[in-house]
Amino acid sequence: METGIVTMNEMVAVQDCGLIIDLKTAESQVFGALIMGITYSLFEECVYDPKTGIMLNADMEFYRLAGLKDVGQLKVHMMTGNGYEERGVVGLGEPPVISPGAAIANAVANACGVRVPYLPLTPDRVLTALQQKGGIA
């Protein structure tokens, strides 16, 4: 908590998408979505220079993407059986990528007792929020 750096330990996704035709493919879709969700929650940000308007981090060095070690343990559970399958095929492309931002931000608020109302959750933002609360734990 003294560095403001957020790291992922574990994340669980429970997803309903109606009738699942291929369980492995459906689960893989959710794993991918979680990784994208972690990446935009913690790292991804386009930085533009306010004067010239050029993008300052149009490279893989400062436009950060999560690597394998940044992702933590992921668990995916697909809802199947009665009540789900008879509804037929429902889309699975975007839904699981939306909730990680809120889930991770909530986890940070729960861990340090202060809301950081911006994504990505970079150390400067987390430390600023902690300081406004009255000091770094």
């Binding site: 560095t3 070690k69 940044d70 430390l127």
Partner: protein, 321 residues
């Protein structure tokens, strides 16, 4: 990339003879992990590139008397694998390992790592290295919090340089016609005054040949604060070295990385460590002292807290080493 003449001399004398007396006309190629990128992006456009790959005596690590000499073209991977370095300088091992990328460790060299050009995103986007008004009024989250009174606001990008300064290393420089001169690491890294200058004491026709690190038994450790756990640039690094007699610390040096245009020797933090045993309290006190005199820019005040933590953790790690 603009076309250029390529030379791969077999001796150091030949190599220095091929260099020009103005920065930018000629560039020295070691691992190429930075230079080639700079050339592709046309940040530098040399007329001649002098490769050091055939200069055999620049490579390798030798223990000699009370010091270890590291050849400038020793790869970072070989540095990590060397048993004398592992025994005497855990700080160097930690820092080199933190570079992570197998490509960089295999190709990148120790000399190239300390002489790489700044990563300032204004510089890398072709807006120049001394564009201080742009940086002050722009996005300076990764820029300097120390030594930033002048036009140079970038941070020194090297992970190893602060450790060489903390360990009291000597940089051995080869000049024209076989001349050699020695410069202390603390004086080797310099804040350049203009675009016509570079970030070290090297002259355009000189080559960093070796780095001599004394094995005087200093306890040492390095700590870096980074966002990603995979390859990433650190926000702040700290190198700590000190002598320990019966538990009491003396001759402490605390050197910060990524906070100033040069590796930043913090006198206040070094003083704070001297005289007592390393404990949570003394390490934290040194961390607080390390922020003295900092002048954050509009977007990098958070680095102060990271300096406190990096120094504290490096001091504790050195104490436990």
């Amino acid at each position: 990339m603009k076309s250029f003449e390529y030379a791969a001399p077999k001796s150091l004398d030949e190599a220095t003879g091929l260099l020009g007396d103005k920065w930018g006309d000629t560039e020295v190629l070691a691992g190429g992990t930075d230079l080639i990128t700079c050339m592709k992006q046309q940040i530098v456009a040399p007329k001649r590139v002098v490769s050091l790959k055939n200069v055999a005596d620049l490579k390798g690590i030798k223990a000699e008397g009370k010091s270890i000499r590291i050849g400038a073209t020793t790869t970072l991977g070989d540095l990590i694998a060397n048993s004398s370095i592992q025994e005497h300088f855990p700080a160097l091992i930690t820092a080199a390992k933190s570079l992570h990328s197998p490509q960089v460790l295999t190709l990148g060299t120790v000399g190239g790592e300390v002489l790489q050009r700044p990563r300032c995103w204004y510089y890398r986007n072709g807006l120049g290295l001394y564009n201080d008004s742009q940086v002050r009024g722009g996005d300076n989250r990764y820029h300097a919090i120390f030594g930033n009174d002048g036009k140079a606001l970038f941070v020194h990008p090297s992970s190893l340089a602060p450790i060489f300064v903390a360990l009291g290393a000597t940089m051995i420089i080869a000049g024209a016609k076989g001349k050699k001169r020695n410069v202390a690491a603390a004086k080797f890294f310099q804040t350049p005054k203009s675009d016509a200058d570079r970030e070290s004491a090297l002259k355009p026709n000189e080559i960093l040949a070796e780095i001599e690190v004394p094995t005087s038994g200093l306890k040492n450790a390095a700590y870096e604060i980074r966002h990603r756990q995979v390859i990433d640039w650190p926000y702040v690094t700290a190198a700590v070295a000190f002598a320990a007699k019966n538990g009491a610390v003396s001759d402490a040096r605390v050197v910060l990385g990524h906070v100033a245009p040069i590796p930043w020797l913090s006198q206040a933090a070094s003083k704070a460590l001297n005289g007592a045993a390393i404990s949570e309290t003394t390490a934290a006190r040194a961390g607080d002292a390390a922020t003295q005199g900092a002048k954050p820019l509009s977007k990098n005040e958070y680095k102060l807290q990271l300096v406190r933590v990096a120094v504290k953790r490096a001091a504790l790690a050195a104490g436990a080493a």
